[in-house]
């Protein structure tokens, strides 16, 4: 005959501790979420007054359309854009000469815009956004 073991081991975790466990789990995930860094790209855009002062210079002009980009009025394929921009900015040493005026169509998507402006900045250009002026006229 087999002898039965006298002692029974406790196999259930104590239910009183579940609240504390949940509390510590939440603290852990909150801390994890709050320290998660965001990634991105810095962009320096000159303030309006500075742009006015530099308007006299002849700047490179980039037009961004829905699917293409133009440099000084000429359509440039996206795979050649960076190289063309580098070539144009190569001999320009002063900041005022490196200003690239960016004009975008109203329907240009942000994804396309960020890709083009990234290439301009990587080539050493300083971006200036040119927008259509909206003027309100009050009629009495």
């Amino acid at each position: 005959m087999r002898a039965k073991r006298a002692t029974k081991l406790l196999i259930e975790p104590p239910s009183s501790a579940t609240g504390d466990i949940a509390f510590n789990l939440i603290i852990f995930f909150l801390v994890c979420a709050s320290v998660q860094p965001e990634s991105g790209r810095e962009q320096s855009i000159p303030r309006s007054q500075e742009q006015e002062a530099e308007r006299e210079e002849k700047h490179i002009e980039v037009q961004i359309r829905r699917n293409v980009a133009l440099i000084n009025g000429v359509v440039v394929r996206s795979d050649q854009f960076a190289r063309r921009m580098e070539r144009l900015l190569k001999d320009k040493k002063r900041n005022a000469e490196r200003v690239v005026v960016v004009k975008s169509d109203k329907q240009v998507e942000y994804q396309h815009w960020i890709r083009i402006t990234e290439m301009i900045e990587t080539a050493g250009g300083i971006i200036t956004i040119q927008m259509e002026e909206v003027r309100e006229v009050l009629v009495n």
Binding site: S16, A17, T18, G19, D20, A22, F23, I26, I27, L30, P37, E38, S39, G40, R41, E42, Q43, S44, I45, P46, R47, S48, I64, S104, D105, K106, Q107, V108, E109, Y110, Q111, W113, I114, R115, E118, T122, I129, M131
Partner: protein, 135 residues
């Protein structure tokens, strides 16, 4: 003979402490969520070269519906520059970062005036984008 009154014990059961703390935490988490941007829907654009951002007091978001939010609160484009200026006040150059979170399909007619407003307020623009996979 004086009959002694029975004294009842009024201790808070220590067993409930964990649950009380848990519920308090849930309450504060929900309160905090109402103030941040995690409830707003947007998808970041992709870029090949990205850096990690530091601390910033100002965050401007354009969501899927092309609505503009300043630190999680809806704002009109006309008031954006003055509101950013009010938050940045006299912050020194390194602390004037403005995080710009734009939904990747937003149109230039919406995001360009926002960029202009940040520039007008003297903020240092930081586009929040995702690193593009090389594959």
């Amino acid at each position: 003979m004086k009959i002694q009154r029975k004294t009842a014990r009024a201790d808070i059961p220590s067993l409930c402490m964990g649950d009380i703390a848990f519920n308090l935490l849930i309450f504060f988490v929900i309160l905090a969520r109402a103030q941040d941007e995690s409830h707003l829907q947007w998808q970041p654009a992709h870029a090949s070269d990205v850096q990690n951002t530091g601390h910033s007091k100002v965050s401007v978001l354009i969501d899927k519906d092309e609505k503009v939010y300043l630190n999680g609160q809806p704002v009109g484009i006309m008031q954006l520059a003055s509101r950013i200026e009010a938050i940045l006040l006299d912050s020194p150059q390194g602390e004037r970062t403005v995080l710009l979170k734009v939904h990747r399909e937003s149109k230039a007619i919406i995001f360009e005036p926002v960029i202009e407003a940040v520039s007008e307020a003297g903020g240092s623009l930081f586009h929040i984008v995702e690193k593009q996979n090389e594959s």
